[in-house]
Amino acid sequence: TVGAVALDRHGHVAAATSTGGITNKRYGRVGDSPLIGTGTWADDRSAAISATGHGEYFIRTVVAHNIASRVLLAGETLNTACDTVVSGELKTMGGNGGVIAVSPSGETALSFNTPGMYRAWRDEQGGLHTAIYAED
């Protein structure tokens, strides 16, 4: 699974996710990626989020909209909301994976509960970063 989130100069956020699913999948199995609100969500009132991981658990936790709702309704910061869902609710249920997210104010979050996640981001000073392992 791959995904991207972005904030443009007009204050709009967007999210995109694309995947081949899981190896050896059967019966037309679909994971979280194409389900709006689960693997992909974008709302200028809260955040844009793209997820990757064990789709069945991401669906049951409604991960992307869950995170956005915490920002919009509970006033959590984006990083707090991402960590609470990914390392809390999702992990407790047994779901492995991670999310990337940006907010309309420019906050960027990369949160995952696995030993690694292929990821890249631009920091607030304009620096570009890529990473693979959790400790990178």
Partner: protein
């Protein structure tokens, strides 16, 4: 002061522990991630839309055989590929998504076509293929997505049906 811009991307999460990938593989992956990041960032720096930026970044990732999307997508049980994708704009919460499609080179462009050229949000399976056949998108045969790495993972998984490799080099227990 100009409004801030931001962009981030992922190429999949999994049991990625140091030593599973060779240093050359790691370098290739870092370069691919940076290329995709720059593809989206360039548009943002030119005052482009976040929707176009995320699309450009994901197209780059779909083109890279290392990632499970587009070229390099995993194999299904029957040895073909079923691709899923979604794209969403925060300004108006318009969204487009496809599930279980087979013949569009870049599935994220298929999702964008659903957003822009249909009154639906999610199209799936044969119906989605039929709609996409009417769209001006590059079509490919389903075996265009094949890569040797994913074929090996599929063969391994056929022999050991309770573990699957989601990411290059990584093996994770997944039950679909």
């Amino acid at each position: 002061m100009a409004n801030p811009i931001a962009i981030a991307l992922h190429g999949g999460a999994g049991v990625l522990t140091p030593g599973l990938l060779t240093p050359e593989d790691e370098t290739t992956i870092h370069e691919a991630l940076l290329r995709a990041l720059k593809a989206g960032l360039t548009l943002l720096e030119q005052d482009g839309s976040s929707l176009d930026a995320v699309q450009a970044a994901v197209v780059e990732l779909e083109e890279c055989p290392w990632f499970n999307a587009g070229k390099g997508a995993v194999f299904t049980h029957t040895g073909d590929h079923e691709l899923d994708a979604a794209i969403m704009h925060g300004a108006n919460r318009e969204a487009g998504a496809v599930a279980g499609i087979h013949f569009v080179r870049n599935p994220i462009l298929a999702a964008r076509a659903v957003l822009e050229h249909s009154e639906h949000v999610l199209l799936a399976g044969a119906g989605a293929d039929a709609f996409l056949a009417t769209q001006d998108l590059e079509k490919v045969p389903n075996d265009w997505y094949d890569t040797d790495l994913r074929r090996r993972q599929w063969q391994t998984q056929l022999q050991a049906p309770d573990s699957v490799s989601l990411e290059p080099g990584g093996v994770d227990k997944k039950f679909g």
